[in-house]
Every structure is written in structure tokens, then in C-alpha cells.
Point group: C2
Chain length 324, copies 2
């Protein structure tokens, strides 16, 4: 029995590696910078070197079943990272990263995008254990999603399913999205969207607010959340507005896969009930009657710092199970 998998949370700044057991305990961890390399080969060299040390700590590569990678623009079917604008060595093409690690480490390697990894992590170790139908929504710099139907992650015909942050909301405010289109959910319900809403609310009213003490350009979603926690009415309305839109969006998602739960993860969830209550209220007001009061609204049970590594590692168990 090989008791461990490697998880790699490949972010725009850091690449964090963890060696994880089947209960989700991280046995060893290390990290490198993601960007300091001219080529992907150099990135993989540095990764393998860093990994070598922690692999020895747990008893060597023969203790390790597989590796899972969560990465931006990850394609599960091909094991590739495709045109990832935030990666210096992955921006202009298709990088076969899973194959590269497989060759170097001699173990099976699977790769998917970060939000899908988070969904599998939640299903393997978190609040979605035992659930066969749920939707994971990650509220970070952007809005990501991972959809689980019949106990399996939905990859679609091309490996790119589950981009719910890029469904369009009903409002037509004309916010431009990073994807080049207008009024995607992500423009409103990400950390950057929340900061943008706060700036708009400040601009369009004279209402007093703790946020007026800050330079508007510097306002972050954390500032808004701190102000709301102190009772700032304008800041609270920013979260009500954000939750309203998320609830409307989830009402449409219910009409797709009727999940038993929506699981939220990421920085914005730190606002707690300031965000979650408006989501639930808006959902129940907007959803088709047959779905009403059925879905749970949950916040990730995984520790924020290690959740991404756990999620990535869970993909490792996922591939190994059918193969071995």
C-alpha cells in the first residue's frame, strides 16, 4: 500500500507542494516561486529538487501513489496548462505539465484547474464528503467553480466545463470582465468585484462610511468586510448586493444540476453571514419552486492555507483509484 499523494497548488506567485495521507493530513510541505524561471523545464527542475527533500522525509517515492496538480487553465483530459496569462512560462501555449512530472517522478499525475481541485478536495476531505451532487464556488481574485454530478467532477467535452464565474448576470451595468466580455458574475462577486462595488457606492452617494477614510483606489474586499463588521451601513450594503447577485446566479445553477449543496470557498467567505445570509435569501426568493429550501449553503471546511494543496492532492487519489 502506498499511503500518500503529492498535491501541488500552482498559483500565480507561489507553488506549494504537500504530501498528504488519505485522511487529509499534510505530512510534509515545501514551496518554490512559480515565476522565477525562463522555461517550464527549469520550473519542473526546481520543483523536483524541492520535492526530493520532502519525499525522503516520508520514506521515499515508493510510498507515493500519485500526484495531483491544481493550476490555472488546467485541462484535466490532456494534463496541460493552456494559455495561462498569469504564468510567465505558460502564457503562450500548451504546457504538458502532467506528463513532465510523470516522467520525472515515475508516478501517475493528474492536473485540473484550481476550482475543480477545490471541489474534489471538499468532496474528499471537507464539508462535501458523501455528497454526489454539489457545486463549489470559489470567491477569490476571480470567481471559479467546480461542479460535481453523480459523484464525479464535470469536465465536459473539452476538459474546460465549470466556468460559472463567466456566466452573465441579469444586470447590464456594463462592467468589463478579464475575459473581454461584459457583466460576468466574476466582475461583481469576486474580491475585486466587491471592491469595485464599494467604490461605485461611494461615488454615487454622499452617505458617510468608514471606507471614505481610505484612498478609493486602495480599497480591498477585506476593508469592506472590516467596515461592515463595525456596522458600516454602506459596507453592509456592498455585501448584500454581492449576495443578492450570487443568490440569483445559484438559482439558475440549480435549474441545471439541482445540487444538494453550494459550497463556497475563498477570501470573500471570511465575511461570514454578512455574505451568506443575503445569498440564501436571494436564492430562495429567485429559485424555481421545486428547488426551494432544498440546497444547503456551506462554507468550505478546509483550512484556507492548506485547502488548495489538499484539493490538488485529492485529484491524485481520484486518478489512482480507477487505475490501480
Amino acid at each position: 500500500m502506498k499511503p500518500y499523494v503529492i498535491g501541488l497548488d500552482l498559483g500565480g506567485t507561489n507553488s506549494v507542494f504537500g504530501i498528504v495521507d488519505s485522511r487529509g493530513e499534510i505530512k510534509a510541505t515545501t514551496s518554490i516561486k512559480t515565476q522565477g524561471y525562463a522555461t517550464v523545464e527549469q520550473y519542473v527542475d526546481a520543483s523536483v529538487e524541492a520535492l526530493g527533500l520532502i519525499i525522503e522525509q516520508v520514506g521515499g517515492i515508493e510510498k507515493i501513489k500519485a500526484m495531483g496538480i491544481g493550476a490555472p487553465n488546467g485541462n484535466y483530459y490532456k494534463g496541460t496548462i493552456e494559455y495561462a496569462v498569469n504564468l510567465s512560462w505558460g502564457r503562450d501555449g500548451v504546457v504538458p505539465l502532467a506528463d513532465m512530472f510523470r516522467e520525472r517522478l515515475g508516478i501517475p499525475v493528474a492536473l485540473t484547474n484550481d476550482a475543480n481541485a477545490a471541489a474534489i478536495g471538499e468532496m474528499t476531505y471537507g464539508v462535501a464528503r458523501g455528497m454526489r451532487n454539489f457545486i463549489m464556488i470559489t470567491l477569490g481574485t476571480g470567481v471559479g467553480s467546480g461542479i460535481v454530478i453523480n459523484g464525479r467532477l464535470v469536465y465536459g467535452s473539452d476538459g474546460f466545463a465549470g466556468e460559472l464565474g463567466h456566466t452573465r448576470i441579469g444586470r447590464k451595468d456594463g462592467r468589463i470582465c478579464g475575459c473581454g466580455r461584459y457583466d460576468c458574475l466574476e466582475c461583481y462577486c469576486s474580491a475585486t468585484g466587491v471592491a469595485r462595488t464599494a467604490r461605485e457606492f461611494l461615488n454615487t452617494s454622499q452617505e458617510p462610511s468608514l471606507l471614505r477614510d481610505l484612498n478609493p483606489a486602495d480599497i480591498t474586499s477585506l476593508d469592506v468586510s472590516l467596515a461592515a463588521a463595525k456596522g458600516d451601513a454602506l459596507a453592509k450594503r456592498v455585501y448584500e448586493f454581492t449576495g443578492e447577485l450570487l443568490g440569483e446566479a445559484c438559482a439558475d445553477f440549480a435549474a441545471f444540476s439541482s445540487p444538494e449543496a453550494f459550497v463556497f470557498f475563498g477570501g470573500l467567505t471570511k465575511a461570514g453571514s454578512l455574505l451568506m445570509e443575503p445569498i440564501k435569501e436571494s436564492y430562495n426568493r429567485n429559485v424555481l419552486r421545486i428547488y426551494k429550501d432544498k440546497a444547503l449553503f456551506l462554507v468550505s471546511g478546509l483550512d484556507g492555507a492548506s485547502a488548495a494543496v489538499l484539493g490538488a492532492s485529492a485529484i491524485g487519489w481520484d486518478i489512482v483509484t480507477p487505475i490501480v
Copy 2:
């Protein structure tokens, strides 16, 4: 080997039965009125009596593997029809119709809603043969959908997944939907929605149109389609508007399951390229770049008159395969 399945297309007016072989050939057919019965027991009695004759024609019940039913508000998991407002004997509660037929006929019986049945029919006998990821959209009196992911129909946590006709469009015209909410896709892109759009276009302009010869209240989607086929500019714009909205909706659906095809079925598809071209153009203009030019837009390959029965029968194969 039992070579046949029974399909029942249970509609608001007629209940059509067919005995179907594995290639989708209908060997015998019969029908009864759906509504002329005070209780569901009487409806099942009449059904079994009518079925008796055609079952004998194909060599008796021992030639029949299973029965599939496509019905409004059908719940696949429970085999029930739930609060179907258009059925006199099914309006006020939960009718265990699959169990009732199973007891009377002594064969496995499965039941789902009409659009799901159409999707399975298309996958079994139609243009979606061999596809593992597609979305069926039925454009009839309402807008229904059946979603196939990884080769399986999506039923969700409660058996009611796939109500894409009740996702909300971006416009806020305030059309009220049969479901009690506003601006569902169905209010615009069903046969009744098309007629409504035509009346609105006639009301809000002085533009000459063949449709002005008709009593506005009597205008149907067929009238609009006939006028458009004769070159009527206003009628054409009705289809362009309808296709535009369907294309926008499909762009959002792609972000969910990234299907290899959208398959359209129902009365509105008779408008052909008048409707399909605007759908495709709008889709490619609205969809996230990674999905662009990937999905096919297809019209059902099944003969309209028998498609619903074939779809229902296909559910029969579907349940038998795992059980036997």
C-alpha cells in the same frame, strides 16, 4: 432475449403508446385520451386495456423488456408525477405512476419528464448517438431541457435537474412566466413566447407586416414562421430576437458543462435556419473564448410525430441495461 420496450408519451391531451425495437422502429402503436378519467387508477386501467392489444400484436408481454414514460413533472428517482398542473388526475399530489404500471404489467418501468426522455431518445436513436456530453433543448409550448454529461442524463439530487427553460435571461422586460417568476427563457423562446414577441413588435411599431392581417390574439409561432418564410421583415426579426436570446442562454450553459452539441427539438425548430442561424451567431458572439466554435448546433433527427414515444421508450432500455 426480449426485443422490445414500451414507450409512453404522456401529454396533456393524448397518451401515445408505442412498442419499439432496439433500432428505434415502432412496431405497434395506440393511444388514449389523457384527461377523460376521474382518477389515475381509471387512467391506468384504460392504458393497460389499450396496451393489451398491441402487446399481443408483437407476441405477448414476454417479448417486452421494460416500459419508459415521458411525462410532465416526472421524477425519475421516484417514478412519480408530482403536482402536474395540466393533468386532471395529477394536479394535486404525487402519483406513483411507474409503480402502478409495473404492478399491472410485471415489467420494469421508468419515468422522467418529456425533455429528459427526448434527450435519451436522441442519444439512443437520433443525432446525439455516440455523444457523451450534450444539451437537449425542447422548444414547444414551453422550453424544456435534458442534459447529458459523461453519457448519463443529469437528474440532480432530487430528480428535477435540467429546467433550463426557467433560467433567467439578461433582459428585464418583466414578462411573467407560468412558474410565477419573471423573465425566464421560456417566456421568450417557447412557441407562446414567439407569438408574444410578435404581438409586442406589432404594437410598438407601424411597420407593415403580413401578421397585421391576423387578429393579434390569434397569432401563433406558426403564423410568424410562415410570414418570415414569405420574407416578412418584422416576422424575421421576431426569429432573430428569439435566436439571439437562445444563443446568449446557450453561452451560459456552455460555461456549465461544455457540451459537444446543443440539440433542438419541437415546433419552433420548423423555422429552420431562420432560428438556427441567429442562435449560432449569438452563441459565438457571447460565449467565453475557450468554448468558441466548439459546440455543434443540431436539430433533432427524430420524426416529430414519433419522437416523444421513441424518447420515452429509450428510457426503458436505459433502466434495463444495468438491471439485467
